[in-house]
């Protein structure tokens, strides 16, 4: 009886351990496919991205020279990594886990697929399956995004159109995200909005978001599903931020600042003290001189009297 308990405990522990190590990818993510066919150019671009972002830990593919971390970063050419579906590989690079950083905010979906294409280059048996272009009810040709600013409502109107039967028609149901360029990355504003039947999505621009000294902000509009729309994005600059100018932090007079920025009170106190002390010394010297002189005069007077 005891032994069976122990066995169950051990087995459950082992399974727990295994499940803890396993990296489960949601089925629909695992099944996702690249929107473009892998070619030499995608592999080359992917290789450049790999060298920039992945090589420092994963090493050169096929050379087993990864950095010794716990757990070990697998070699991209290994069976362990090549055993993943394209979608699973994409998901793992995008989301990250533990020491493996997430790249969804640093690389675009297309760039992530290029990295996958580079990794697949080390698998001779690999045959690619390319995704069918997603239709969204219409076949998307020549998609265009436009941004308009509504000053009264403090809103940004985004219009998505596509060519259909040689006429430009709105695209409904397109999920869009809007972000503002900041120094180290893009700040997403007002979540994700879906276009209505007129192909219009409305974003509320956050209040008080600083722009440059004239209020200009750089906006970027992108579809959430880059796989369906491809690499389309709109970069534009609009004067809708709060004009912000803040003086340099070392501009004010302060105790810690350079000599030229000495606080006035300190400068005055110092100068007055120094001048007073020196004035006193000079005054005393002058008085001593006067005493000496009057003594000399007295001497000469008494001498002349004696004569």
């Amino acid at each position: 009886m005891k032994i069976s308990y122990l066995l169950t405990a051990i087995i459950s522990l082992v399974t727990l351990q295994v499940s803890a190590q396993e990296w489960v990818v949601p089925a629909e993510k695992s099944a996702s496919l690249s929107p473009f066919a892998f070619s030499d150019s995608t592999r080359k671009a992917g290789g450049d991205l790999y060298n920039l972002n992945c090589k420092s830990c994963h090493g050169d593919p096929g050379k087993n020279n990864a950095v010794k971390l716990v757990p070990m970063p697998p070699d991209p050419a290994s069976a362990q990594l090549q055993g993943n579906s394209d979608g699973a590989m994409f998901h793992k690079v995008a989301e990250g886990r533990g020491l493996m950083p997430a790249f969804k905010n640093t690389l675009s979906a297309s760039d992530l697929w290029r990295v996958v294409s580079f990794i697949r280059g080390f698998n001779e048996k690999y045959v690619q399956e390319v995704a069918q272009k997603l239709s969204l009810g219409t076949s998307l040709e020549n998609v265009k995004f436009a941004i308009n600013w509504n000053n009264e409502l403090n809103q940004l109107q985004v219009t998505v159109t596509a060519l259909k039967a040689l006429t430009r028609q709105p695209v409904p149901g397109a999920e869009m995200k809007l972000s503002v360029r900041r120094y180290f990355g893009n700040l997403q504003v007002d979540g994700v909005h879906t276009t209505d039947n007129q192909g219009v999505a409305v974003f509320n621009f956050p209040k008080g978001l600083p722009g440059d000294s004239l209020g200009f902000v750089q906006l970027q509009l992108k579809p959430v599903d880059e796989t369906a729309f491809g690499e389309i994005k709109v970069d534009t600059t609009m004067a809708i931020g709060v004009p912000t100018y803040r003086p340099p932090l070392n501009k004010e007079r302060a105790m810690w600042n350079v000599v030229g920025k000495t606080p006035i009170w300190l400068l005055l106190t110092y100068l007055i003290t120094v001048l007073t002390v020196w004035g006193l010394i000079v005054y005393v010297m002058l008085q001593l001189r006067a005493i000496y002189k009057s003594g000399e005069e007295d001497d000469s007077r008494s001498k002349s009297k004696v004569e």
Binding site: A20, D48, N51, L52, V70, P71, R97, G98, L99, P101, A102, N105, T106, S179, R182, Y183, F184, G185, N186, L187, Q188, P206, G208, L209, P210, D212, S213, T244, R246, P248, L249, N250, K251, A254, M255, W256, N257, V258, V259
Partner: protein, 323 residues
């Protein structure tokens, strides 16, 4: 005698002939050799010209300042060195229109110490020399302990700068407090003045003193380090210039650090690279300064260690990683 004369005279004339002959041949030879030399020289020169101008397909990958990977021919590369004066000047000036700010989320720190090693690697420090350190904190007996990474706070009212007698440590327009090791006299007034114990002193020869020999001093990196001077956290001023996050921020595996520009009201997480609004982040999470009562106005904010996602195992667990 006559015979002799007869023999000598022709000899003389022969000599004359010889000499005239040799001048002529000399010029002849000179002309020939000169022509040959000119032709040879021209040939060598054209060969050299060709060698210089011929297309060389040996390319080198180069990362540009705006983070683009480009290829340039190897023979077109010119080595430019930033001279000390220019580096010192741009280091003193800082980046216009910026006010750097760091946010440290104590709820996420599990003492992985990656920030420390990345920092020590960049600034050529020994494992026991810290610009940033993670401290084990416990406010009182009944409160939960937590890890607290502590870099220089880059105060807006820096006591360390006020006491420096030689203007070696200074505050820039973008808020960073830097040290000029070329000016520092090692008096350590600043060490005594800093309420956050953020500064370290090089008592011994710095770690890579031989490898760094001849390297132009970079005021924004404090490399090469100098014995008998002060060093401290620089907010990775050299990386900020390139638009990159500081060494510690980008090496954290647990998403502890946010870094950004206060003027843009935005901070970016070093792990996820997600950007947040600074004001919102501080408001939602109850951000605070260290020792605000001193009036030093730090540029580093802390988010309290609430809703922690892991167990605190005490001082025993030096390296804990998310798994």
């Amino acid at each position: 005698m006559n015979d002799k004369k007869l023999t000598t005279e022709p000899e003389h004339t022969k000599k004359m002939e010889d000499s005239s002959n040799s001048r002529r041949t000399f010029f002849k030879r000179f002309g020939l050799i000169g022509a040959a030399a000119a032709t040879g020289g021209a040939a060598i020169y054209t060969g050299f010209e060709y060698e210089v101008s011929k297309p060389n397909h040996d390319f080198v990958k180069v990362l540009t300042a705006d983070n683009k990977l480009v290829e340039v021919p190897r023979d077109q590369i010119k080595n430019l060195t930033m001279d000390l004066t220019r580096k010192q000047q741009q280091g003193r000036d800082g980046l216009a229109g910026r006010r750097w700010v760091m946010v440290i989320d104590l709820a996420k720190c599990r003492n992985a110490r990656k920030c420390i090693t990345a920092c020590q690697g960049a600034h050529h420090l020994r494992p026991y020399e810290y610009h940033i350190n993670t401290l084990v904190m416990q406010e009182s007996e009944n409160t939960a302990p937590y890890y607290m990474p502590k870099p220089c706070q880059h105060c807006d009212n820096p006591p360390c700068v006020a006491v420096c007698p030689v203007d070696a440590t200074f505050k820039r327009q973008d808020g960073i407090v830097l040290i000029d090791n070329e000016r520092c006299i090692g008096c350590r007034f600043c060490v005594a003045a800093c309420p956050y114990s953020a500064r370290m002193f090089h008592w011994e020869e710095p770690l890579q003193v031989e490898a760094d020999n001849g390297v132009t001093y970079d005021i924004e990196l404090n490399v090469p380090q100098k014995k008998g001077t002060i060093s401290k956290c620089l907010f990775s001023a050299d990386r900020l210039r390139e638009g990159k996050l500081p060494y510690c921020v980008s090496s954290c595996p647990n998403g502890v650090y946010y870094f950004g520009d206060e003027n843009q009201d935005a901070v970016t997480n070093g792990t996820t690279k997600e950007t947040f609004r600074l004001s919102q982040l501080l408001k939602d999470n109850g951000g605070y300064h260290l020792m605000p009562e001193l009036g030093t106005k730090p540029r580093v904010y802390y988010l309290p260690p609430k809703n922690r996602l892991f167990e605190f195992n005490g001082e025993g667990d030096k390296v804990v990683e998310q798994g």
